[in-house]
Amino acid sequence: MDTNTVKHIATLVRLGISEEEAQKFSGQFTSIIDYFNMLNEVDTDNITPASDIANSQNILREDVVQPSMSRAEFLKNAPQSERGYVKVPTVLGEE
């Protein structure tokens, strides 16, 4: 996997990455993915992909409003907040 692909993936997962890191990961990813390619040996025609573990029945309950964490309590961990909201910089670009 080349460094441009590594950088592209880093952007997709919102991970800042340096040139040096991209080069290091590029070599490591190539050997890991080569190893994964051994799965191509397995015949999986007509095999259903696993989608659950064991407990596959639906569990239903009444949708009842219950008390949850208070806003003040929740905001204790927010890096920045204002007037009861989590504060972040511009999301939608300049006005």
Binding site: R14, F25, V42, T44, T48, I53, N55, I59, V88, P89
Partner: protein
């Protein structure tokens, strides 16, 4: 009598017969932690004040004879990925270094209700990503049997805290061997329960379809005691089973004579350390002497377990760790941030270690358009085959027996430069998690002065048989009683 070396069962007898108090037991444990843990470094946080308060409450319960459970007044440690209200919960990551949860995990609540005493939170590979505890963002944990060696991972701090007698029991978490592999490296008993047996609510997710919280203890009796206390249905986790939790210890002494052990032939291939193989063979002979039948079985897709496990782990972890974005909790790096995307990029760059970055990126790659069918979907299909392997093998035998690792604990730094080499140390423990089946790890000998672990693998929800067979072994061997020279 050394208070820190007691089993839960022994401590419970002394507590309820008023020969010791929980405060005495807890103080002794905290003292030992402060004396010995600077060498081992198994704890990220020690909760002295909380522990002494919980111990006082436990002593009151015992004095009144009300609500006394087998865990009342017993000191324990917990892996730092399980949420504890008002106690820092870090996942050994810089991104959560100062994170203090506002709520308890269900397991934390159950243990608090039982009267157990939390003495601290244990070190781990960052977010559970690793096999040696060397991926902790804070410090390495040392194997109490030899300080130059790793304790295993990712629950390395939990295993080391048990091995060095720094807690009476410990709560670990097993996504792909993270309880069993370090248990084997540190001479500890530990179980990865059936997926869905123990609630994951409040566990900081690594792989939601693999993650299993499980106890680490001095012996099988204690392991059964703790699992019974933490297992059960939880309305906050829809993957938990509704079926009642058995009283495991009631049937522990049932004879194993006539039962059948399956030995998966694919697990006994070249590359296994000689002393590991001979310890496992000796354990098999011990079971034969106990009247069990031993039969070779096949898990034909074993060689694909590791790629399946890691591909699915990368994919699920990539998605689960998207929540760490520097806006609602945890580290936030916003130096000259022009927009919210800058906060994401900077926070995640500074907050995550290399292994976490690798896995998030490889997961996104495996899930991306053009590669989804070749990697993620292919792995889910082979996962179906892995599950069938276990179903087929376990249809003809009562349990499977295998090593927990091809080697004993390796040296610190030995595998840190080669991620793939590190992944390969999980080869015997990963297959059970994609399949969901339970597995019990227990000490079975030594190779070059380092502990060897074996695992018993059972049918879905049949922890009872694992405990019964494991207990039978510990009645005729004393490997689990060996303590490191520390």
């Amino acid at each position: 009598m050394q208070l820190h070396n007691l089993t839960i069962q022994e401590a419970h007898k002394l507590l309820t017969s008023k020969q010791i108090s929980s405060v005495e037991l807890t103080q002794a444990m905290l003292q030992r932690i402060h004396d010995v843990d600077p060498k081992i470094k198994s704890y990220v946080t020690v909760t002295d004040d909380l522990a002494l308060e919980q111990a006082r409450q436990a002593d009151e319960r015992i004095a009144k004879g009300e609500n006394v459970t087998p865990l009342t007044g017993i000191p324990f440690s917990m892996k730092d990925c399980i949420s504890t209200r008002d106690v820092r919960t870090t996942c050994s990551s810089k991104i959560l270094e100062n994170y203090v949860p506002q709520y308890n995990a269900t397991v934390t609540n159950k243990l608090a209700d039982s009267g157990a005493v939390l003495v601290g939170k244990t070190n781990m590979d960052e977010f559970g990503m690793g096999s040696s505890c060397e991926n902790s963002a804070f410090f390495n944990t040392h194997n109490p049997w030899n300080l130059d060696h790793v304790p295993g991972g990712s629950s390395g701090g939990a295993a080391a805290s048990m091995s060095a007698s720094l807690s009476t029991f410990s709560i670990g978490e097993d996504t792909g061997g993270s309880v069993r592999m370090p248990a084997g490296f540190c001479n500890v008993t530990g179980i990865k329960p059936t997926y869905g047996r123990v609630s994951r609510y409040g566990l900081i997710s690594l792989v939601s379809s693999f993650d299993c919280i499980g106890p680490m203890t001095r012996d099988v009796y204690d392991c059964a005691t703790v699992l019974e206390a933490i297992a059960g249905h939880d309305e906050h986790d829809s993957t938990t089973f509704n079926s009642p939790v058995p009283q495991y210890n009631q049937n522990l002494n049932k004879p194993v004579k006539g039962m059948t052990i399956g030995i998966p032939k694919e697990y006994f291939v070249s590359g296994m350390e000689v002393g590991v193989e001979s310890s496992i063979q000796e354990a098999i002979r011990t079971y034969e002497k106990l009247g069990m039948t031993v039969r070779e079985v096949s898990l034909p897709n074993t060689k694909y377990a590791l790629p399946v496990y890691y591909l699915l782990l990368f994919a699920e972890a990539s998605s689960n760790l998207a929540r760490f974005d520097g806006t609602r909790f945890g580290l936030s790096v916003s130096k000259d941030a022009k927009d919210v995307i800058d906060i994401y990029l900077q926070t995640r760059h500074e907050g995550f270690g290399d292994e976490v970055k690798r896995r998030i990126m490889l997961g996104a790659y495996a899930l991306s358009a053009g590669y989804y069918d070749a990697y993620y979907l292919k792995a889910q299909k082979v996962r179906t085959l892995l599950r069938r392997d276990f179903e087929t093998a376990l249809a003809s035998v009562d349990i499977l027996l295998a090593p927990t690792c091809p080697t004993t604990a390796f040296k610190l730094g030995e595998k840190t430069n080669d991620p793939l080499e590190m992944y390969l140390s999980d080869i015997y423990v990963v297959a059970t998690n994609p399949a969901g089946v339970p597995a019990l790890a227990l000490p079975c000998g030594f190779s070059k002065d380092m502990p060897v672990g074996m695992q018993l693998i059972g049918k879905h929800l049949d922890e009872q048989t694992l405990f019964q067979v494991g207990h039978a072994y510990q009645q005729v061997t004393d490997w689990h009683k060996q303590l490191p020279p520390i």
